[in-house]
């Protein structure tokens, strides 16, 4: 018997040592997995943008194009979370080791229960303390900061979301490039105003011939590029000829193009094969840009134009520095000498940059992250501007179940748009049809299918569906829009007897399955393009919407000789589309911009595609 006890004690010692080392050798494996999870996060999440050019599917595939508020990565917060969890893991480890040693004492000296309960309380206390530190840290960050007194700043830094891949405006798609360069570095024959109307730029005026097939543009006097080269009619002609000959970005939107000629040094004539009502608006974008025919620069990293700014420095995916162009030809000079555009793919990082004063303006800011700035009216201004982003819930018109018009109508009646908008922060606008308020032909169509679940249920009954035999539909959309919209739609449609299976996929999967193969019941995507009604007149587009009347009306709109006729035709076509319910327009996304008090002249409307900066000025608060 004594021998046995001895043996046990001996084993105990070995046991304890072994256990200690076991713990340290066993742990690294799960830990390694932890760190993998964290490291993998940024790369996997930051996969860019999700916009679809209605007119150009391949442009959408290229990955850049616009903004979504919902999809974003949140590395800092995730890291924080993992640290939090891992902290607790460490506690358990230390604790278990502790307990092993204590077990020795307990066994020899009898049970000390209080100590063990203390351990549990310690775990709880640590967890609670960590939680409190969280709360306090975030509360602290809102503390006011001291600002230097002074006059207008020489440099204004602006935070944006999507970075251009390179600066080649002729070959690189993506609205971030339009946003940064058009109106700042490059100028077009004409330009767009903040309410999406055509205004003079290089051409000070223009005349359209009565048949609508020819346009005469009169150019401004004494224009030059930022390198000193003279800008005249020959540069305009060369730029548009090059565009059409080489098929640069936007060439496919310049329809019915026949020829462009220089009448004299300050007059240009553009001829069309047939009238094209959107011509001027198109020329205000990339197709109308005027480049220096004698300029020799590397288009990917530099930009040479006639605008108020020049590119001083370009760091891909990070920042673009613009400097005022000393030789700018127009009377109004830029208000700020240097403007830095900084790109944040991570929403939280962007918000922190605004809080710390690293940037003065942030556009867009996630509506859900905006409340601290809204409350701090002493230091910040928060405002929303109109945009042409349409969140389109497309219902496959050739789909097995959704080809039934009653089903599509029921879905439109079943969706409570105001609730969706409220949950997103309330800045967005309801949209009842395919044309947003900044586009020609807009009309408030929200009364076509107002929220009415009873009517929806009645339509579902007529279509042959009952609670015992509900309709099953699948909704396919890209993960960058977040899971909330899908969850809400499922909840709202469940109320009228539709079982919605939400399939959140990679954006590339959406492009393949929905846009290319038309394999879907319901799809959700943000169509951000302006003047994109053409997609409803195209039966081959993924909507599978084929209505002869709509196609005729759109055709008439495009050949109409004045804007009023065009708008009338578009309005009628849009109403027709809305009534047929090939889709539901969840809302018209509006851009929210947050800026420090003291920033003026920053455009709010459309600032993700068009961001003229020459009026931006920042006077730090005293």
């Amino acid at each position: 018997m004594p021998k046995m006890t001895g043996a046990y004690n001996d084993n105990d010692a070995t046991d304890e040592m072994a256990e200690d080392t076991t713990n340290s050798s066993v742990e690294p494996a799960p830990d390694a997995h932890d760190s993998d999870t964290v490291n993998a996060t940024p790369g996997a999440i930051e996969n860019g943008s999700a916009m679809v050019n209605a007119s150009d599917a391949s442009a959408a595939g290229s990955g850049s194009g616009a903004i979504s508020t919902s999809g974003s990565s949140t590395d800092p917060s995730l890291n924080a979370h993992v640290k939090h969890v891992r902290g607790a893991g460490a506690v358990s480890r230390a604790d278990s080791r502790d307990s092993i040693h204590r077990r020795g004492t307990v066994r020899s000296g009898g049970g000390v229960r209080g100590v063990r309960q203390g351990v549990i309380w310690t775990i709880f206390a640590i967890v609670v303390v960590v939680a409190m530190i969280f709360v306090i840290t975030f509360a602290k960050q809102q503390a006011p900061k001291v600002k230097p007194a002074g006059k207008p700043a020489d440099t204004v830094t602006i935070g944006l979301k999507l970075a251009p891949t390179n600066l080649d405006i002729r070959n690189q798609s993506g609205s971030s490039l339009d946003q940064a360069l058009i109106g700042n570095v490059y100028e077009g024959l004409v330009a767009r105003s903040v309410d999406n109307k055509v205004v003079p730029a290089i051409a000070k005026s223009w005349v359209r011939t009565p048949d609508g097939k020819s346009y005469i543009f009169h150019l401004n006097d004494g224009m030059s590029f930022s390198n000193g080269d003279k800008l005249d009619a020959s540069d305009v002609v060369w730029s548009i000829d090059e565009l059409m000959r080489n098929g640069y970005q936007g060439a496919d939107t310049l329809l019915n193009f026949k020829s462009i000629t220089a009448v004299d040094e300050r007059t240009v004539r553009l001829d069309l094969t047939a009238p094209y009502a959107d011509l001027l608006w198109v020329l205000a974008g990339r197709p109308g840009l005027v480049l220096d025919k004698d300029g020799k620069v590397d288009m990917k990293t530099q930009a040479l134009g006639s605008g108020p700014y020049t590119v001083a420095k370009y760091v891909p995916n990070s920042s673009l520095t613009l400097k005022a162009n000393d030789r700018y030809w127009a009377a109004t000079k830029p208000a700020t000498q240097t403007i830095v555009l900084r790109y944040f793919s991570d929403d939280n990082a962007a918000v922190n940059a605004l809080k710390s004063g690293a940037i003065q303006v942030l556009a867009p800011i996630d509506q859900r992250l905006v409340s601290p700035f809204k409350k701090d009216t002493d230091h910040y201004v928060v405002a929303s501007g109109d945009d042409t982003d349409k969140y389109v819930l497309a219902m496959n018109c050739a789909g097995e179940k959704t080809s039934d018009r009653r089903v599509r109508q029921a879905i439109r009646y079943a969706i409570n748009h105001r609730e969706l908008i409220a949950s997103r922060g309330g800045a967005d606008k309801p949209l009842g049809g395919p044309i947003p308020s900044l586009d020609p032909g807009y009309e408030d169509l929200n009364d076509v299918y107002p929220y009415n679940p009873d009517k929806a249920r009645e339509l579902m009954r007529q279509a042959g569906y009952t609670p015992a035999h509900p309709l099953e539909l699948r909704l396919t959309y890209a993960n960058i829009y977040g899971t909330e919209l899908g969850d809400q739609l499922r909840s709202q449609l469940k109320a009228v007897g539709i079982d919605l299976k939400v399939n959140v996929v990679e954006f590339s999967t959406w492009l393949q399955d929905v846009l290319k193969n038309h394999d879907y019941d319901l799809s959700l995507v943000d169509h951000n393009e302006s003047h994109d009604f053409a997609s409803w007149a195209n039966p081959k587009y993924y909507y599978n919407y084929d209505n002869r009347d709509v196609q005729l009306l759109y055709g008439q709109a495009m050949v109409s000789l004045n804007d009023k006729d065009r708008d009338d035709y578009l309005r009628r076509a849009a109403r027709r589309v809305s009534e047929d319910a090939p889709a539901d327009w969840l809302f018209n996304y509006r851009i929210t911009t947050a800026m420090e008090k003291g920033v003026v002249g920053f455009p709010l409307n459309l600032n993700q595609t068009l961001l003229p900066l020459s009026l931006v000025k920042y006077t730090p608060l005293v």
Partner: protein, 349 residues
């Protein structure tokens, strides 16, 4: 040999009837276990002494008594009590959520999103206006399922590999050791991302990735101990007396590796829950609309700056459960170890 195959239980039982020397012998063989698990058994003078049988016993009435003893000794320790209480709550909540949650899971309310805790919503609401408490309750059962299935798969994969690794065939053991060493370098997350390509986001991805990944770990960690047992004198004697390879494996090798397998499995359960959160955040885990703690975390973690409380609840749940699982493994290992747990010896004797 035929005799062994036909009457294994009886043979063991005969051994059981032996004197205290036998018990001491078996205990010592067992005590080598942790040293083996450490991975460097050479450094210690711990060659196992011969044993006539394993400490394990076929399930019988005594088995139930043993279970009670094990539970009681776990309960008597603070960590064990904490682990048992948390795990019991977890199971009860999971079962309850099947029939009842305070609010319907699909109920959303766009006018009351990110609401702070109130009488109506115990833990507030999330970004769709759904009840966080209900989602956490329902998430408990998804996570329970994931933990159980991952651990089962890890056990099957791990034990299979373990058997290959300690096989007497040089080729099989060499190949499997190299294979495990190579495969163990692939992170679980990577396995999941690869699996997600054909399978999409699904619970099966998590279970497969965790099961395989942790199974490899298990085999790697239990191998030294299993090797010791396989090379021990009692295993050699068993074989000499005509026992088949399978008999030696299941009678001697596995039971001797059991303590480290147990710890590793319970650690795996905890890690599987962490992995679920991580993978769901990456979009390859639990699909949208299926409640899980990872889902609750990933939908709210983006807004931790603005609504920190909403993130804290699922985070706290995961933390507490994972801590409980880790403690559970630790305490269980002690409780089923007849050397440490004197009460168990009494039942066994």
């Amino acid at each position: 040999m035929a005799q062994h195959d036909m009457l294994p239980a009886e043979t063991v039982h005969d051994g059981r009837l032996g004197i205290s020397d036998v018990v001491a012998g078996s205990c010592q063989a067992d005590a080598v276990g942790p040293a083996g698990a450490e991975g460097s058994p050479q450094g210690r003078d711990s060659s196992p002494r011969p044993a006539l049988h394993t400490p394990d016993e076929p399930v019988s009435l005594k088995g139930l008594g043993k279970l009670a003893v094990v539970l009681r000794s776990m309960w008597s320790q603070g960590e064990g009590r904490f682990a048992l209480v948390v795990l019991a709550c977890w199971i009860v909540v999971s079962l309850a959520s099947i029939v009842w949650t305070p609010k319907k899971l699909w109920e959303t309310d766009g006018y009351h999103v990110w609401a702070p805790p109130s009488a109506d919503h115990l833990l507030g609401t999330d970004g769709t206006g759904a009840d966080v408490f209900s989602w956490l309750m329902a998430g408990a059962r998804t996570n329970l399922l994931i933990a159980i299935l991952s651990v089962m798969l890890a056990g099957v994969v791990g034990v299979t590999l373990l058997m290959a690794m300690v096989s007497r065939s040089k080729m099989v053991s060499a190949i499997s050791v190299v294979a495990v060493d190579a495969l163990i370098s692939i992170p679980t997350v990577l396995i999941a991302l690869i699996l997600a390509v054909p399978m999409g986001a699904s619970i099966a991805v998590i279970i497969l990735a965790c099961g395989v990944g942790y199974g490899l770990n298990l085999a790697r960690i239990a191998r030294p101990q299993a090797l010791l047992a396989a090379g021990s004198d009692y295993a050699v004697s068993a074989r000499a007396s005509g026992a088949s390879g399978g008999y030696v494996l299941f009678r001697h090798v596995l039971p001797n590796s059991l303590p480290s397998i147990m710890v590793q499995l319970s650690l795996s359960a905890g890690t599987a829950i962490l992995a679920e959160s991580g993978l769901t955040y990456l979009g390859v885990g639990v699909p949208s609309g299926v409640p899980s703690w990872g889902h609750s975390l990933s939908t709210s973690v983006k807004l931790i700056d603005v609504y920190p409380l909403t993130v804290v609840w699922p985070g706290l749940t995961v933390t507490v459960v994972v801590v409980a699982l880790n403690l559970f493994g630790d305490v269980l290992r002690q409780a089923i170890d007849p050397i440490v747990n004197t009460a168990l010896r009494k039942v066994a004797a």
